[in-house]
Every structure is written in structure tokens, then in C-alpha cells.
């Protein structure tokens, strides 16, 4: 029995934040993420002391998270991560703020929000996720059936 045969797919519909298409493995956190002081821009690692993803990197992952918090350096950290080649491939999040909007814009990665299902419930770390930013569509191929 192949993995493909077992795979379950879920489709979520939301709103474009930044256009473009990308896919990759999901990295999911229910916690908000601090940019400045919370992320090392050079390798995409979460460094915030008590964060559940501390030590893990979002580089080349589809980052699924609640939203942004903390310093106004948020956008510059994600901007620098892009320049350093450490940005996530795409972003999916629940709570819109100026930090996250500007960060997604300058990180230039496909991003969606306002989804019809809670992405933190529907997507687990390790799932394969396809993001179509322009259409606001997220396809999730579950790792576990």
C-alpha cells in the first residue's frame, strides 16, 4: 500500500496576502512568532526563549502559525531571511497585523489568511502543503491518513 494511495487531502480557501505559488513541508505552531529577538534571520531558526519551536528553522518550510507579535523589527527580520536564503517557502496564518502583512510582502513569499477552516487544526507539522497565494487556496496532503 503506497503512501500516495493512503494520502488524505484537504483544501482550505482564504484570502490572498501575497501572490504566487509554492509548496513544501508544513511547520506548525499555535503560538505567535516574534521576528526581531524571536528569529535568527540568517538561518530561519526560532530563538525565543520559551517558544515551542525553539531551535527549529522555517527555512524552506511552509510556516503555519497564529500570527506575529513583539518588535516592529518583524518585517526586517523576514526581509533579511529572504536575502540570506532562509525565508519560509510560504506562510499561512490566522491573525492579520501590520507586522505580518509587511513581513510577508518584503519576504516575497506566497501568503494566505482568513481561511474557511482553522489551519492550526487542519495542518500538522510534516504535512505537505501547496499554497496558491493569488487564489487564496491551500491544499494539504496529510502525512498521516
Amino acid at each position: 500500500m503506497s503512501v500516495t494511495h493512503n494520502a488524505r487531502m484537504i483544501t482550505l480557501h482564504g484570502r490572498k496576502v501575497v501572490g504566487g505559488r509554492a509548496e513544501g513541508e508544513a511547520l506548525v505552531t499555535r503560538q505567535t512568532i516574534s521576528g526581531w529577538g524571536g528569529v535568527n534571520a540568517m538561518d530561519g531558526r526560532i530563538i525565543e526563549t520559551r517558544h515551542e519551536l525553539r531551535g527549529q528553522s522555517f527555512k524552506d518550510k511552509v510556516l503555519v502559525f497564529r500570527g506575529a507579535k513583539g518588535s516592529s523589527g518583524w518585517s526586517a527580520v523576514f526581509h533579511n531571511a529572504r536575502l540570506a536564503g532562509a525565508a519560509p517557502r510560504a506562510m499561512i496564518f490566522n491573525e492579520m497585523t501590520t507586522k505580518i502583512a509587511l513581513g510577508a510582502v518584503v519576504a516575497r513569499v506566497p501568503s494566505v489568511t482568513d481561511l474557511d477552516q482553522d489551519p492550526l487544526e487542519a495542518i500538522e507539522t510534516g504535512d505537505w502543503v501547496k499554497v496558491d497565494g493569488d487564489r487564496g487556496v491551500v491544499e494539504v496532503i496529510k502525512r498521516r491518513a
Binding site: V18, G37, E48, S71, S72
Partner: protein, 432 residues
Amino acid sequence: MKLNDEEQAMLDGRRGEACRMALALLVRYGEALGAERFVDVVNIAGVPASANKFVKEYFRPYYQSGRDEYDVIFSLYDLDGEAVAEVPRIAGNACHLQGGIDPENWETLGATPESLQLSEASEAYAREHGVRILKTCTPYLAGNIPRRGEHCAWMESSAVVYCNSVLGARTNTEGRESTSAAMLTGKIPDFGLHRDENRFGTHLIQVEVEVADIMDWGMLGYFAGDRVQEHVPVLTGRIGNADLLRHKHFGAAAASSGGVELYHMVGITPEADTLETAFGQRRTQEIFRYGPGERRQTWEMLNANGRSTEVDFVMLGCPHYTLEQIEEVVAMLGDRRISGNCRLWIFTSRAVRAIADGKGYTEAIRRAGGVLLTDTCSAIGQAIPPGARVAALDSAKQTHYLPAFMGIEAWFGSTRDCINAALSGRWNASPP
């Protein structure tokens, strides 16, 4: 985004290439937010054209003889543009927030001549383009006080929360790129806290213990941010002594543990004459009580990184110290000298430092073995004394960030606890 004629003219390039790229970025940003229009802003606080080594090196391929290197950084980084343009003079009331280096005490901070030169070159560029070089996270203590209701575009989460909550002006937490773009265009998306309906309270916090000094107010802010995240807390109860200082520490903490950009204190802050005005048509989502248990829990959260009681670094001035705070520290130090095993760094703005110089406070701190620094702080400048392992801090915000950045232990306590640690080299404070 619906553009008016003026904005369309900018987007069509009729005000030059830099302005076109700036408006194009703001349109991308406004669309990402789901905003429909811009508001006009003249009061803008950002960090235009500042460059660390990484950014400076990244754009090296674009530097050519005869072209200003900071036009490259401003065009391609600040404006996230696709071409290098000559950047015109900035017309509005634009100021530069904190930077990474004290130009006078850069050696104390362990900076290299190369990074000093970088900082001075970007400062000169910003100054020549009409930006006021305040170099502080507390522009409201250095002469920039917007009027109530004024639309602004500010960075620096602790300044943003002060601007909204205490001054009653209106700004979201902007970033490097949006503030630089706003400096050229005078525009920012009409979103979030620019709009009446988003300025009402969402959560109620009943303060049931005494909050006296900045340590208490920092803990209360840290608690509030942790509970409400990016929402709008309304505080009632034993908050009657809230003044400039206490707001400064409360707001900075709430914007660190959470993303608080606006809070109301009933009977104190401008948009909260009564509980009813604070909440408007919104309903209270949740009520939190701040009593002795919550205070103790917050203290433990903030002191989770403290292990060794051998303190070798005391850092004060997050957000930048006021004159009153410097005065207090000078009085606490008296004629004594700090421990030979400990360093004492106190950060403030250039404006406050100038007054402190005149009053003899800078010299008094130096005589005690400490140093009064400007422009930056340990977290922003990523600078601690060589070999420092255990810090003592009176700022909940700095305690939140510094251990993550620098991999050191940190104790959080009152200003007096910190000065005692500087004098003895030991942390000897008990929980509240």
C-alpha cells in the same frame, strides 16, 4: 486599494522614481492588509537607510562610482524596489529612532571602527535627507509629541503603544520599509488603529494589588501582553499612580510578551474617561484579575533565566531612561563605587544625555564605575561586556529579549535591586 489623484500621480511616476517605488510598496502592503485606502501622515518615526554589515555587503554588486551607496540601500531595501533611484529630501516630520552604536562610547560597546563608520554614514545620509536624528526608542521624550487623534506612522513597539495609549495619536506598529516609504509619500494604509472602531477595548484587567515602581508596572504590562496578545486591554483598579515613567515600562512590557499596541486605563488615558467609553460598542471578551498570585507567576516567568547569583552586568535604560530615572540612580549610587566584577551600563537618548551632562550626572555615573550611553541598548546593539554571563535588569522588555539574543542569564528586579547588584556583584532580591 482605491487611490486618489495625488496617489495615482505618485504611482505613475510623476513625483519621481523613488516616490513611485515607495507608493508601489505601500499598495502591496495595503492589499496584504486588506485595507481600502491610505491616510495622510506627516509624523513618521523609523530607521531609514540604516545598514548593518550583512545588508551593506548584500547590495555590494549595485554600488558604482558616482552613486550614493545609501541610495542603493534605500531603494532596494527600504523601498523593496526593483531599481536604484535618487532619493529626494523628506518633507514631513520624520525622525530616526534608536540605532546600533553610541558614537561616543562605541569602544565600550565592543563595536569595530568599521561598524561605527557604517552607522555614521547612514546617519549622515538620513540627516541630509531631512530626517531628525533623535536616535532613541523614546521620541516622545526627545520632542516628538503628536497631537491627539493625529495619524502617524511609527516603528518601535514601545513607542507605538505610548503614542496610541498615552498621547491618543493613531499609529499601527509600522516597520522599516513602511516608515521609509511613508517618509517619501506621506501615506500609510488606513487599517487597524487608524480607525475608530478598532480603538475600543477588548479585554478587562482588574488590578487588585498595588503597582508602585517601574518593576511592578513592567510585571503588570508583561502579564497584560501575555493574556491579551495583540488585543486592547482596559485596566481598572489600583492604577491611580500611572505617570509617564510607569506608562513607558508598562507599555514596553505589554508589547513584548504580547503585541499590545493600544491599552486604556480608566480615568487616566485619553480615550478612557469611563469604562463605557473605553469599550464603546465592543463587548468584553474576557476578564482577567491581577492579584498576588498573578504577580508572583509573572515574576517567576521573568526570572526563569536566572541561575547564578554572581551578577557581572547591570543594564538599565530599556526603554531609554528619563532624566528622573538617571537622577534616581545617581542618588542610589551616592559616593560608592560598583563592584570590580560588574559593569553598569545605562542607556538614554541624546536629548536626555545632554541634560544629564549639564547636571553632572554623566560624570557621577562615571565616577561610580558605570557609563551613560546613548543611541542603542544591549538588545538592539547586541552588545554586552566581554565575558558577561549574568545580567541584572529593571526592564521586563529587556529581560524578555536579552537572554534570547545573547545567550546569557538574566535577573529581573527593581532599579534598587539592580544598583545593589552592581555595588555588590551579587543578586540578592526576593520575589514580591
